[in-house]
């Protein structure tokens, strides 16, 4: 059977940031049915629509740039697709671009290499812009940034927790101060994403805070994804 692949970029914000990745999958599946989009299904006893995201977005994180591939069994015009789907998506979720790509096109997961974020938080004590920038520089000049990652591993019949040490230095492509006003700080980060490994902005912030001594209120942390980028640091749907 001939298949078609519709690639879309969408945003996820407002209340929709509280929808988990798994729940989002269901939202899309049901939206496709209501929009009467001819989605293709997997074979077998429990058929699933064939859909794939570029990466999973953490709960509570807003994004201007999520990507999804949806496989169709009939060709649909890109604009018709966008119109019909946007009519049924809840507020806070919206397709901003759709493109009929070749079914053989590389998967989104394989082409994404990095993600850019805005990270906002409130300091516990006031800090000058200069001082903050110096601290950032100090952090960037570190040779290694080792984090400890707990991994549950199966050994025979039981699960054991194994602590793994990872250097995330190379995963931080850039980190800069976008804004500092009173106690409120906004950072811009570009971090490794995709098949090579995902590094979370909240982990980077925690390492920053630990290494150069920054006190901030953890409850105040808000993260926004600006975009996902490919090898050439371009939008995934140029």
């Amino acid at each position: 059977m001939l298949m078609y692949k519709m690639r879309s970029k969408f945003y996820k914000k407002e209340d929709m940031v509280f929808i988990s990745h798994l729940d989002l999958l269901r939202v899309f599946e049901r939206a496709m049915r209501r929009a009467k989009i001819p989605i293709a299904y997997t074979q077998g006893f429990n058929p699933h629509p064939i859909m794939a995201f570029a990466t999973a977005l953490g709960l509570g994180i807003s994004s201007d740039a999520e990507y999804i591939d949806i496989t169709l069994y009939e060709s649909v015009d890109e604009n018709v697709f966008m119109d019909r789907v946007n009519k049924v998506l809840p507020e806070g979720l919206k397709l901003v671009k759709s493109k009929d790509v070749s079914i053989k096109e590389d998967s989104l997961m394989s082409i994404v290499k990095s993600s850019s974020y805005l990270v906002r938080f409130i300091l516990n004590e006031k800090m000058d812009k200069n001082i903050f920038e110096e601290k950032l520089k100090e952090f960037e000049n570190l040779d290694t940034i080792i984090i400890k990652k707990e991994k549950r591993k199966r050994k025979g019949n039981r699960w054991i927790n194994k602590v793994q040490e990872i250097d995330i230095k190379e995963s931080i492509h850039s980190i800069e101060l976008a804004q500092i006003e009173d106690m409120e700080v906004m950072l811009r980060m570009k971090l490794t994403a995709g098949e090579v490994g995902n590094i979370k902005p909240e982990i980077v912030l925690e390492e920053l805070a630990n290494h150069v001594n920054i006190n901030y209120n953890k409850d105040s942390l808000r993260i926004h994804r600006i975009n996902l980028l490919n090898e050439s640091e371009e939008d995934l749907m140029q």
């Binding site: 269901r26 939202v27 209501r34 058929p47 809840p90």
Partner: protein, 612 residues
């Protein structure tokens, strides 16, 4: 009116999607001074409450009326409750995010006794006084409905209005009366409640006085004045094709327990199992037509985008046109991969061809409920099915590739002995046997049989309403006897916590004295009693002790001539019929189903005859 500020809390709690209130097909309305505000409250977490069909019906029924705004409220999970209490956020309606004290009515659905402590916790979280007598004109009116409302006595002191029976008509009548009383001026709650008591299906607990004998048994139960009906009759809907049914239902973001279109195909049950409360209180049997159902199915699938539709009833295979209905759904929707599920199929007319047909789209496990392990005991409880029915059904199932079978039984049924229990083991082994006798090339490579037992809880309005519940020690002994005997490869045995069954039994047949126990237990921290990780048996026992109430008073055998706490409620089935059935059970005499012979249960005398 101010909204509660929860945005920042949502970053801190598990599954924040529980509290958003903006799911597909949820209703949001402008509120003005004429709006009657109704909060449908489900005293458990979102995922349980959102699986409840009754809530979807009442929600959309009320919101179809211009001047009524019905919102949903669930028990917040403990992490959210803590955040709310720490930040002084009162319990709120999900849709408007406004505090519950702005509402005219709070309607709690009583699906199981172990949710009662959550009702008190939710009132408390809303800052509303627990006891009905402590609430003022400014507070919302608190009403209840649902299966446990047929004996609402244990929570009667907390409740203003009890709705008995099917709610679609009576709830509208109650709200219209409220609207008129408010319009006419000089509204008082007490006058409203007295007028409401005249509506069939409405029970106002505060309008009755109870006295007790020295031994704790009820001496008298009397209305406070002669205008109040002595007995309150439940409501039923005459014509299920004409009654309201939603054409769109709320589609949760979260994966809830029943996450599919639920199509109610009929109400009532013709079987008459003697332990089953639903089979008695929902009489008579009334079906929806295939035409009406096909129309609803189409509208619901279109408006929700769901990938599965379930035909809901107490005994799905008893629907007279089941084959026609299923055929229609398969023909119309299998291309779109929409699965069909048929819960509550019976063994004796188990139609494997039908199930095979629907499983071509999506495949699931097989569940059977023989309820008792021996033919004698199955006859005692009037579950008219034989071992042959079971082996016959699984034989065909295994030959068609099924490899997962679940068997449900009850422990502690009246007259049960160890021989009956070992019958459970024998049945499970027979199922395994049938599997291994199936030719290897036809059957799956491995088999898994799960045996689950729940503890029998005698319920009001059943032939077993006078029967005792066995002691905790006896429950445990029976469970370990089964555990020993079901230790086999490919066999799994699950059973319920015996202590929660005791509490369930106390509240199922309880009286008004229990409200004090409930209050004390709630204040000592009891909530989510149906959840193993929250249930605190010791705290409950302390509450009984502190209030000087013996829980075993409620689990004892009752005499036919004593006044039962729910005797003032008329469900249509007569006490004489229930006594007759209980006596027949003692001789293991089977009573036929309503379609074959009428056993004169009384439902046709109280309600319009000839419909069952």
């Amino acid at each position: 009116m101010e909204k509660v500020e929860i945005h920042d809390l949502l970053y801190k709690v598990e599954k924040p999607a529980r509290y958003l209130g903006n799911e597909l097909n949820s209703v949001h309305k402008e509120i003005d001074e004429h709006t009657i505000r109704y909060a449908f409250c489900f005293p458990d977490v979102y995922e349980i409450g959102m699986s409840h069909l009754g809530m979807q019906i009442i929600y959309h029924l009320l919101n179809d009326k211009k001047n009524i705004f019905c919102e949903r409220v669930f028990a917040p999970a403990s992490d959210m409750e803590k955040e709310m209490r720490d930040n002084n956020v009162p319990l709120f309606g999900l849709e408007s995010r406004q505090a519950l004290n702005n509402f005219d009515f709070l309607g709690f659905t009583l699906q199981y006794e172990l949710s009662y402590s959550n009702i008190l916790n939710m009132l408390d979280l809303a800052g509303i006084p627990l006891y009905s007598r402590e609430r003022t004109e400014e507070d919302p009116i608190v009403m209840v409905g649902g299966p446990c409302a047929y004996n609402p006595e244990p929570i009667a002191d907390f409740i203003d209005i009890v709705v008995l029976g099917e709610g679609e008509e009576v709830i509208i009548e109650l709200l219209e009366l409220y609207e008129n009383e408010k319009k006419n001026g000089g509204y008082t709650k007490s006058a409203y409640l007295e007028k409401a008591a005249q509506i069939q299906g409405v029970y106002i607990p505060s309008l009755y006085n109870v006295t007790y004998r020295e031994d704790g048994i009820i001496e008298s139960f009397e209305p406070i004045n002669p205008n109040i009906p002595r007995r309150i009759q439940k409501r039923i809907i005459q014509n299920l094709d004409e009654v309201f049914y939603p054409e769109q239902v709320i589609v949760p973001y979260l994966n809830v327990v029943h996450d599919r279109v639920m199509l109610e195909i009929f109400r009532g049950c013709m079987r008459g199992c003697r332990f089953c409360q639903a089979g008695m209180i929902y009489r008579p049997v009334r079906e929806k037509s295939v035409d009406r159902l096909s129309d609803l199915a189409e509208k619901l699938i279109t408006s929700t985008g769901y990938e599965e539709i379930s035909l809901a009833s107490l005994s799905t295979s008893d629907y007279t046109e089941l084959h026609k209905m299923v055929r229609h759904l398969i023909d119309k929707y299998s291309e779109d991969k929409i699965g069909i599920s048929l819960p509550s199929l019976r063994l004796d007319n188990f139609s494997l061809e039908l199930v095979k047909e629907i499983q071509k789209v999506r495949k699931t496990g097989l569940t059977f409920a023989p309820e008792a392990g021996s033919q004698r005991l199955r006859d005692v409880i009037n579950k008219g099915l034989t071992e042959h029915d079971l082996t016959n059904a699984v034989e065909k199932a295994f030959a068609s590739g099924w490899s997962n079978v679940k068997l449900y039984f009850m422990l502690g049924l009246p007259t049960e002995n160890d021989e009956d229990l070992l019958g459970i083991r024998d049945m499970a082994l027979k199922v395994l046997d049938v599997f291994y006798k199936t030719p290897k090339e036809d059957r799956a490579s491995s088999i898994n049989v799960t045996v689950s037992t729940s503890t029998f809880v005698p319920k009001p309005f059943t032939p077993f309403q006078w029967e005792p519940q066995i002691t905790l020690e006896e429950i445990k002994r029976k469970q370990s006897l089964l555990n020993e005997n079901l230790k086999r490869k490919n066999l799994t045995y699950n059973y319920h916590d015996s202590k929660t069954s005791l509490l369930e039994a106390v509240f199922a047949r309880g009286d008004r004295k229990l409200s004090k126990v409930l209050e004390v237990a709630f204040k000592s921290g009891c909530k989510f009693d149906g959840w193993y990780e929250f249930f605190n048996y010791d705290k409950w026992m302390e509450a009984f002790k502190e209030t000087n109430i013996d829980p075993y008073f409620y689990t004892r055998r009752r005499a036919y001539d004593e006044i039962l706490p729910w005797d003032h409620i008329n469900v249509g089935v007569t006490k004489d019929f229930l006594i007759k059935e209980n006596e027949r059970s003692k001789n293991a005499e089977v009573t036929g189903n309503c379609r074959d012979t009428c056993s004169a249960c009384g439902i046709t005398q109280t309600f319009v005859g000839g419909i069952c």
